[in-house]
Amino acid sequence: MTDSAVGESLAEVKDLGLARGGRVLFESLSFAIRAGELWQLEGGNGAGKTSLLRILAGLSRYGFDGLVSRAEVPLYVGHQAAVKGLFSARENLSWHVSGGCVFADEQIEQALQRVGLCGFEDTPSHALSAGQHRRVNLARLFLSEARLWLLDEPFTAIDAAGVSELQERIGGHVARGGAVVVTSHQPLHVDHTVHHLSLDGARIS
């Protein structure tokens, strides 16, 4: 894991404004996500959490006002698992479209173990459940070297034990100088300051 100076800005947003269908979701939003920070985006359904995360990731490039800059390519985990049913869990990770084949086999094995998929490494993914698909995708959190993580509802379809394991991982990443932005309706149980960004009226606290 990279040991970047705490406080270095990994992503910055200036004067961000977004309107969908003529309704203003948020406007003149400015903040910086620094290394060692944990952010939680909050807001009701349709408040623009996913949209904001996609803008941060660089998936949305149009249709909003303001300036977004990123220090590096972030790790983005979206609603969809990006898991191919025809591949096994191992192949899904080693041939993941976003990475290049940089991971050694034992790394992948370890990561799959950490997300509780021990014994499922070589099962074709179409035989896995939705929650297991998500776990395959979340195994990337144990592989990626990206410092900035953007996680969109990472706890959906994950059981209680998995959620606490994940929260631990998130906390660990932040402690090592990474930064995490999470959209979630669940409170985060980590021993780390959580910056809350509420999109219902766009307040930062």
Binding site: S4, E8, R61, Y62, G63, L67, S69, E72, V73
Partner: protein, 265 residues
């Protein structure tokens, strides 16, 4: 020290810069006003030029010594064909501007140009068929120029169809911009290949009168008509743009003020 290296890396990786400046360059209310002003002046001029050109061409020129009076359809056929082709380039250039500088107004112009261009292409094909019957004895001939125009019509229709297929109109505009740029690269290739294909298959029975120079008494009304069609295209484009602007900006304050001048702000 390490943070300095980090800063250098950050400079290298600084991925996205969002240009807000250009958004302001094409401000919708301003464009709406200026387009309205231009249309107000240009439209009467266009109608006048169309009437004069049509009357001149149809009534005051002598009939062609070979084709008689049927050639007079040239005063609609040629201008619409010329402007239809030019219209595609207007559309593609507007598309390029909207893609490169993220100018929303160029997007609007491109969207407005497509149906006008398609209509002109259709007129050119239709009048061509009408002209072909008395001249060549056939409604349709697989001739290089006719085939190219037909393909141009398909390209226009593709842009219109793609635009309509998207729910998100901004994405639709950008998708169409790419499509029209791809089409612009392809038009010369398509034209050349169709041209070549025709010269390979050309049946000997039909000859074009293209080589005979057009008489100046016919040329001037034709030029006037071409100019008038350009003006007509511009008018249609601007009026379409105004309509599109109103639709896109229908929830903004300036449109509301426009509709209800004394309404609540």
């Amino acid at each position: 020290m390490s943070s300095r290296i980090g800063a250098a890396q950050k400079g290298l990786y600084n991925l996205t810069v969002m240009w807000t400046f250009f958004h302001k360059l094409g401000s919708p209310p301003w464009l709406y006003g200026i387009a309205g002003a231009i249309v107000r002046w240009l439209l009467p001029l266009t109608i006048l030029a169309l009437l004069v050109g049509a009357a001149w061409g149809l009534l005051f020129t002598s009939p062609d010594f070979r084709q008689g009076n049927s050639y007079r359809i040239i005063y609609i056929h040629v201008p619409s064909a010329v402007v239809a082709l030019a219209g595609y380039y207007v559309m593609a250039i507007a598309g390029a501007v909207s893609l490169i500088w993220r100018m929303k107004m160029a997007d609007v112009a491109m969207k407005a140009a497509a149906p006008v261009g398609a209509a002109l292409t259709f007129i050119a094909l239709f009048t061509g068929a009408l002209w072909g019957k008395p001249t060549w004895g056939t409604w349709w001939e697989w001739d290089a120029r006719i085939t190219s125009m037909l393909i141009l019509l398909f390209l226009y229709l593709g842009v219109v169809a793609l635009y309509e297929a998207f729910d998100n109109k901004e994405a639709a505009g950008r998708a169409c911009a790419i499509l029209s740029l791809v089409g612009m690269v392809n038009i010369p290739i398509i034209y050349k290949s169709v041209d070549w294909w025709y010269s390979l298959h050309q049946p000997a029975s039909i000859k074009f009168s293209g080589e005979s120079a057009i008489d100046s008494s016919m040329l001037y009304p034709l030029l006037l008509m071409i100019g008038a069609f350009y003006a007509l295209f511009t008018c249609c484009l601007l009026m379409n743009m105004r309509a599109e602007l109103l639709q896109r900006e229908s929830r903004t304050a300036w449109v509301r003020r426009l509709v209800k001048p004394d309404g609540p702000r």
